[in-house]
Amino acid sequence: MLILGLETSCDETGVALYDMARGLLADALFSQVDIHVEYGGVVPELASRDHVRKVLPLLEQVLAEAGCTPQEIDGVAYTAGPGLVGALMVGATLARALAWGWGVPVLGVHHMEGHLLAPMLEDEHPQFPFVALLVSGGHTQLVRVDGIGQYRMLGESLDDAAGEAFDKAAKMLGLPYPGGPHIARMAQRGDPARFDFPRPMVNRPGLDFSFSGLKTYTLNTVAECRQASELTEQDRCDIARAFEDAVVATLVIKCRRALRQEALKTLVIAGGVSANLRLRSALERALDKEGARVFYPAAKYCTDNGAMIAYAGAQRLQAGQVDDEQTRVRPRWPMEELPPLDAAGAA
């Protein structure tokens, strides 16, 4: 069963072909970062406009790479939400049109389920059940996963997502969008002992996160440095280091707590922030002590991509789930509303 996956929920256009027997055959991605960098963040209208330009050429690219013809495609999966409504509509409408034209089933996929299942694309992948930390510019969630579509939210950010906090802190340090990789690079040269940023909500029970206080703390630290003298390159590196350490420590503490609470030994991290190397190594160290293991996707599948949508869609389409007549995109869509894999019918 060969499934085409389309991802257009934000600022990356992703297209991929996944085969249930042969695995991932091809994937192509266009990142719009260069378009949005001038604005300091994603401009929804520009994102939508670019998806309409890029998605069909990327489709042709993956077909050529995979050596497949459109006639071999057995189904189409697209990101139906959460995300930017105008951007989602581009992928959804194209997917519906292709599927109707080819006479194959079509299914809207949950973007975060795509992220959550992205580690399944690796040769060595986790077994259910596990705890997943979904951490990106739009989400910070801890989820118990007992199978595809069997999700229980354990905790989430009460305000900013971790990735969003990275972007905002980067802005305060005069770094370009998207901030995560820039902060990580600067932090490498930072002195870990100079500033001690708070670890938000770690002293409270529960698995929720909050990053807005950390953002304010960063802003105040920048202001204090400025007051003393000009904000030097070393100041910026030290602040980046303290900020990154605080976010990483918070995520690690909550992940360990979640595994203990659920009596599980497997953690999956996914989403853009899961590409952060300091987070990966800190989690590995901490979980090793617990006899637990952490799985994450290859770096290219941490950010938005078509492969994870093709994979998630393939699992559900093979189980007989298909869209009904109406195309629905859902900018907000709690993952717990997803049906389990064996529940056939509209997703």
Partner: protein
């Protein structure tokens, strides 16, 4: 006669038509912000399957704009997919021209008239263009443009009939335009079936598009977001 599937979603109307063997079938619903939900249901009401060639379709016409940005992308994405899947050519037709053709078919304008076609562009602006007719087909004379109603740049018109929902700003149109206005039709939205005669003419001239060439024509290309440099910040 060439069979055409036509899709027009630039305005509050979601409109789909099939023209096969000289016969029209159309679904036309005024459903603001619900186009994407209804579009494929409407298509399925007109055609039993998406195998367009089997149903006598030989080209896919679409209203390329201007109009609602989201609406334009819904038509363009749908036509990209249908044209790609079927291997059929696409034909882009201005939504303003389509609207003029709708007004002609309804008898709201006549084939000797010069017509100012308008679509409400929101944020107190209008999209507009001026058309006359040649052999019953709308032919562009001026435009298209996006402007404040008072800045509509119509030049040298002796007599005009205005159509479209941009006419709700009629009292703000420039005096020179109002002075030559013979009539106005506010309650009008482009219908997909009126893309067909214009698309047939374009097909005859070989003015066709491959699937990847199918794109919205926004006319308004500025967006309200400010770049960091305009905000006084470094990018």
């Amino acid at each position: 006669m060439t069979g055409i599937l036509a899709i027009e979603t630039a305005t509050d109307a979601c409109s789909v038509a099939v023209f096969v063997d000289g016969q029209y079938q159309q679904r036309h619903e005024v459903i603001p912000r619900q186009h994407s939900q209804r579009l494929f249901g409407m298509l399925q009401e007109l055609l039993p399957s998406g195998d367009l060639r089997a149903h006598g379709i030989e080209a896919i016409a679409y209203g390329c704009g201007p109009g609602s940005f989201t609406g334009l992308r819904i038509a363009a994405s749908a036509v990209q997919g249908l044209a790609y899947a079927s291997g059929l050519p696409a034909v882009a037709v201005s939504s303003l021209a389509c609207q003029v053709q709708t007004a002609l078919r309804r008898g709201q304008v006549h084939s000797r008239d010069t017509v100012l076609s308008t679509i409400d562009a929101r944020i107190n602006e209008v999209y507009g263009a001026v058309y006359c007719f040649r052999q019953g087909l709308a032919v562009l004379q001026q435009g298209p443009w996006a402007s404040a109603p008072a800045d509509i740049p119509v030049m040298n018109a002796q007599s005009l009939r205005a159509v479209g929902n941009g006419c709700r700003f009629l009292d703000k149109f420039p005096p020179a335009v109002r002075a030559v206005l013979q009539s106005s039709v506010k309650q009008l939205l482009p219908e997909a079936r009126d893309l067909v005669p214009l698309a047939l003419e374009k097909l005859r001239c070989g003015d066709i598009q491959s699937p990847a060439q199918v794109q919205p024509v926004y006319v308004r290309n500025e967006i309200s977001w400010k770049k960091l440099s305009q905000q006084g910040k470094q990018s």
